[in-house]
């Protein structure tokens, strides 16, 4: 029941209602009888039409009429009889629509009858009906859908229908349905590059002007703003694919070192032996990060020439938490050969891409800029180096006092060294002249309006500024700092006050800007990158640790700027999600303590981090929420993305029920953590601790306590 007041019926109304009920019951019984006995006489048909007039929702009655039409027109050739039968059906539908203009059954019946092509369609009548209905309710989406159907049936041109949306919008700007239809028609024409629609820039300029009229007439009406957002997306979203980041840094000079006692390999930049990467396996990652999610990265689209194995044997993996095979970030692993001599053996690794097509983004753009870069790796078997293999078992504590010192960060120069797409970016910017001008015009326009404290004005302004900065830097790093970030942060602060209902949306948007700001700020990074080099007893000393704690971050972004990070401290933020961290393939230690992570399924990206050993998720909200908002964003049987039969058999024993802990089991079973802290979460109790130690045979420390001797 919609819109009916909650009042008891007056006695006289009750009597009318009872009489109506009796009539409806009678008609319904007759209809079902006719239906089941296949009685299609004109008397029986009259019953069904009376019934549908009273209640157009009785779908079986519509089915009955379809059967009757098929039955009664079977072998009829007289066009007059056919015409009058069709006429009857159209009339019943019109009666039903008068009762309920949103009756699915009635609308479909009309479509069904006309689609059969029994008699010529009287298009004037159809458009007249539509005019009446859209006049009564300009937002009736059944009417709009039917209009698209009739227009197609009659071969009405898209240009003509665009004119119709213009008329409807001019009658009332607040007609989201008309704006929607306009966006559908226009994107079709732009896609086809139809006559008069071959200049996207020209068309979009006209559309900006058109929508401005609506926005200025009533800035609080949502309809035009969504259309404006679509125009902005058309203007600012990148068409071209670029490689925006990679690891190792192009041009770098590295030393790969091992000795017999060490369970793995160390990698040093030649320039600075006090920094090192540590790899636990006899492999070595190569990471590529694109400005859009792409598919098709493989040994045929990317060639790696090195002595670390044949290119065709390399397997590229998309770093994605879904089964889509599309990702911004891709990784492959080179095999490290056994090193016997202690002398340095230099090898070069050459990477080239763009020589063949095949790397494609989800919107269909192909990677097409030929690109080559290389780095040098020297192999060294250093048996002289002291290395205590046992010390890995030490408890690692995120304590910056005493044990660490600020790092010189050659890694940060990865930004500067990443000149890989400079030429293509410069070319891209030239093509984007119109886009940049348009964005600037829009920015100026809304700045004038921003005094009025309308949330849509402020939000649009913030989005325009972000889009402008992004376009200037083009995903690559030509601009050191995004020039407008302070202004955007201020706009979001104002929005939080202006529209507290959507506070958390603005906070999430603000977080993206904050991430962009800190990851581009060399000074900030210098101050927040550490080495635990005084921690000589730990295997983690000399790892690069980035401290991004206490910044009010609620989500992660710009992971492409953090590929070098091995230890990441994100504690004391407001993180609910860690999506994006999957790109940090070198990550060994991660501190997520004191955030708002509310389920193990939200930690899905960790499954892609092979090198992760130390994880702190203490003092989050895991287990505190009965509704899991990432339940369908992880691989699981619920979404048919993971078969758990083996895990069920393995972990369903004694008092542990797989169904109670599937999220934790599916997360941890393939991680090779040596240290885990889950204290301060609702889920943490003694029994859960036992489950964790069972699942993680590599674990040495759980919640700060030694688990194995």
């Amino acid at each position: 029941m919609h819109g009916r007041p909650r009042i008891a019926l007056k006695p006289e109304d009750a009597a009318t209602s009872a009489a109506k009920a009796a009539k409806l019951r009678d008609l319904q019984a007759q209809l079902l009888l006719h239906h089941h006995h296949r009685i299609y006489t004109s008397e029986a048909l009259a019953v069904s039409s009376k019934l549908l007039e009273m209640n157009p929702e009785i779908y079986t009655a519509w089915n009955y009429r379809k059967l009757a039409l098929q039955h009664n027109l079977n072998e009829v050739t007289d066009p007059e009889i056919v015409k009058s039968t069709v006429e009857d059906e159209l009339r019943v539908v019109e009666m039903a629509l008068r009762r309920n203009p949103k009756s699915y059954g009635a609308w479909y019946h009309r479509k069904w009858v006309l689609s059969r092509g029994l008699a010529p369609v009287d298009f004037e009548r159809e458009f007249r009906l539509l005019d009446q209905l859209l006049k009564a309710d300009a937002r009736n989406f059944h009417g709009w859908t039917y209009r698209r159907f009739v227009a197609k049936l009659k071969n009405v041109s898209e240009e003509e229908e665009i004119k119709f949306t213009m008329d409807m919008i001019n009658t009332n700007f607040s007609n989201y349905s008309a704006w929607h239809n306009r966006s559908v028609l226009l994107s079709q024409l732009l896609k086809q590059k139809a006559q008069g629609f071959d200049s996207k820039d020209g068309i979009l300029t006209e559309e900006y002007e058109f929508v401005h009229q609506a926005l200025f007439t009533d800035p609080s009406d949502q309809s035009g703003w969504f259309y404006h957002l679509w125009l902005l997306d058309q203007t600012a979203s990148p068409d071209e694919l670029f490689l925006i980041s990679s690891w190792p840094v192009p041009g770098s000079d590295l030393v790969l070192s091992t000795n017999e006692k060490m369970d793995g390999y160390k990698l040093f930049p030649t320039s600075n032996f006090s920094l090192c990467y540590f790899f636990h396996k006899q492999t070595f990652p190569i990471i590529l990060y694109f400005n859009q999610a792409v598919k098709g990265v493989s040994s045929s689209t990317v060639t790696i020439n090195s002595m670390f194995g044949a290119n065709e044997n390399l397997i590229w993996k998309p770093l994605s938490t879904t089964t889509s095979r599309e990702a911004h970030c891709w990784v492959t692993y080179l095999n490290i050969p056994d090193v016997n001599s202690s002398s340095l053996q230099a090898c070069s690794v050459e990477i080239s891409l763009g020589h063949s097509e095949g790397i494609v983004s989800s919107n269909g753009s192909c990677y097409k800029y030929p690109l080559q870069f290389k780095y040098t790796i020297k192999l060294n078997n250093n048996n002289l180096e002291q290395f205590d293999g046992e010390s890995i078992q030490e408890l690692f504590v995120w304590n910056y006092e005493d044990v660490c010192c600020p790092a010189e960060i050659p890694y940060i120069n990865s930004f500067d060294q990443l000149k890989i797409s400079e030429d293509s970016v410069a070319k891209g910017l030239k093509d984007k002249k119109w886009c940049l001008e348009t964005l600037s015009n829009e920015i100026n326009l809304f700045k004038e309006l921003s005094e009025e404290n309308c949330k849509f004005v402020n939000l649009t302004l913030a989005r325009l500024l972000v889009a402008h900065d992004a376009m200037m830097s083009h995903g690559a790093l030509l601009v050191r700092k995004s020039t407008h970030s302070e202004e955007v942060l201020k706009l979001y602060e104002e929005l939080i006050k202006l529209d507290p209902t959507h506070k958390r949306y603005y906070e999430d948007e603000r977080s993206l800007v904050l991430m962009s700001q800190v990851t581009l700020d060399e000074e900030f990074l210098m101050k927040h990158t550490w080495h635990f080099n005084k921690l000589t007893s730990s295997s983690f000393h000399n790892h690069a640790c980035l401290q991004l704690s206490g910044l009010s971050l609620s989500r992660i972004s710009f992971a492409e700027r953090l590929l070098w990070v091995q230890m990441l401290d994100l504690s004391h933020n407001n993180l609910r999600s860690i999506a994006g961290l999957e790109a940090l393939q070198l990550l060994v230690c991660l501190n997520l303590s004191n955030n708002q992570v509310s389920s193990f399924t939200a930690l899905e990206p960790l499954k892609l981090l092979d090198s992760l050993r130390v994880l702190d998720v203490s003092f989050n909200e895991i287990g505190a929420h009965p509704i899991d908002t990432t339940r369908f964003l992880c691989l699981s049987p619920l979404s048919h993305t993971l078969d758990v039969k083996l895990s069920v058999d393995q972990y369903q024993n004694g008092d542990i029920k797989f169904g109670d802990h599937w999220e934790a089991i599916l997360l941890f079973k393939d991680l090779r953590l040596t240290q885990l802290d889950v204290r301060g979460n609702a889920v943490a109790n003694e029994r859960f601790g036992i489950l964790l130690t069972e699942m993680l045979p590599t674990l040495n420390w759980l919640n700060g306590e030694h688990v194995r001797l």
């Binding site: 029941m1 409806l24 089915n63 989406f141 949502q222 309809s223 969504f226 957002l229 509704i627």
Partner: protein, 323 residues
């Protein structure tokens, strides 16, 4: 804040089951199968499913079952349709009695409604709508028979209904609508295909459904209605953006739509109650973690414990999962 008058709602739902003869009940008679699902799921969320006799419900349901085609009708004597087949399967799942079905045959009926372009018809008459894609996919997944359809095509069809505002329509080109968005996002969730959704764009569109009165509408510039508490909230949860709305305000809006005397929840404050809005109100509260309610799965529209039993329970059907 006003409280949830849970006991009154239970009483109201049980009374609706018995009331069949007034005009308002008759108008809805053809979709009594949906009514059974709404009413019984609400009872389960309120921990009162035990108040009904499963055998009685199931024997009525089986009278709505069509032996010839293996689908369910909305009531005895009414034609079979996907909308009612899903409700029947959901109710049987609630009672843990899916064994009464000939699962192969029911799933053949559902799978047989898939069209060449991946879409689904609601019944043999061919009306196509993404609502039916959801019905089919949800139903087959509960029955562990998703392998009977071309999932990739089904997903591609849904994606072809995606709009430039991030939402989804009933057919390609159709306007975004919260109910339709639930169906499409739900079907994509169940098939592990949420990567086709622009979560930030759709999330913003959905969170902007919250109006000044705290309630949610289904499309821009429309009136708020309790039923969107379900359609919008469940969609926001599936894409992990539910924190973008103000839960306290929405909770208050729903509680204000209760008939505090006779039970039931209406579309807006002081309107007439019905079982449809009672379900969507209680479901919305459950999704916002209102104390004392069972939690609801946002994609399968069944209590989480029921869904976990289906997918993690001991008597799991032999694995037919995609690799």
């Amino acid at each position: 804040m006003e409280d949830l008058v849970a006991e009154k709602h239970v009483k109201y739902i049980l009374s609706v089951e018995k009331k069949k003869d007034d005009f308002e009940s008759l108008v809805l008679e053809h979709l009594r199968m949906n009514g059974a699902y709404w009413g019984l799921t609400t009872l389960d969320l309120l921990h009162k499913l035990g108040a009904v006799d499963p055998d009685e419900v199931i024997s009525w349901m089986m009278e709505c079952y069509h032996q010839d085609c293996r689908g369910f009708g909305g009531n005895i004597g009414h034609d079979p349709h996907l909308l009612y087949t899903l409700s029947a399967v959901q109710v049987l799942a609630l009672f843990d009695r899916l064994d009464v079905l000939d699962i192969e045959k029911v799933s053949d009926y559902v799978a047989g409604l898939q069209n060449g372009d991946g879409s689904f018809s609601g019944d043999i008459w061919g009306e196509t709508d993404t609502r039916f894609s959801y019905c089919a996919i949800c139903c087959l997944s509960i029955l562990h028979r998703l392998d009977k359809i071309d999932v990739e095509k089904a997903v591609n069809y849904i994606v072809s209904c995606k709009n430039l505002d991030g939402g989804f329509g009933s057919i390609p080109g159709g306007e975004s609508h919260a109910g339709q968005i639930f169906c499409c996002v739900g079907a994509l969730a169940i098939t592990g295909s949420l990567h086709h959704v622009d979560r930030d764009l759709l999330g913003w569109w959905l969170c902007e459904r919250q109006c000044k009165d705290g309630g949610l509408n289904g499309r821009p510039e429309k009136l708020t209605d309790v039923c969107y508490s379900w359609w919008v909230l469940s969609s926001l949860i599936m894409i992990d953006r539910v924190h973008w709305i103000d839960k306290d305000k929405l909770t208050r809006f729903i509680l204000n739509c209760q008939d505090r005397e006779n039970g039931g929840i209406s579309d807006r404050p002081d309107n007439a109650v019905d079982v449809f809005h009672t379900y969507f109100g209680v479901a919305g509260l459950s999704l916002m973690e209102y104390p004392g309610l069972k939690s609801l799965d946002p994609a399968y529209a069944l209590p989480v414990d029921v869904v976990n039993r289906i997918f993690f329970g001991k008597q799991r059907a032999p694995s037919l999962l995609a690799s």
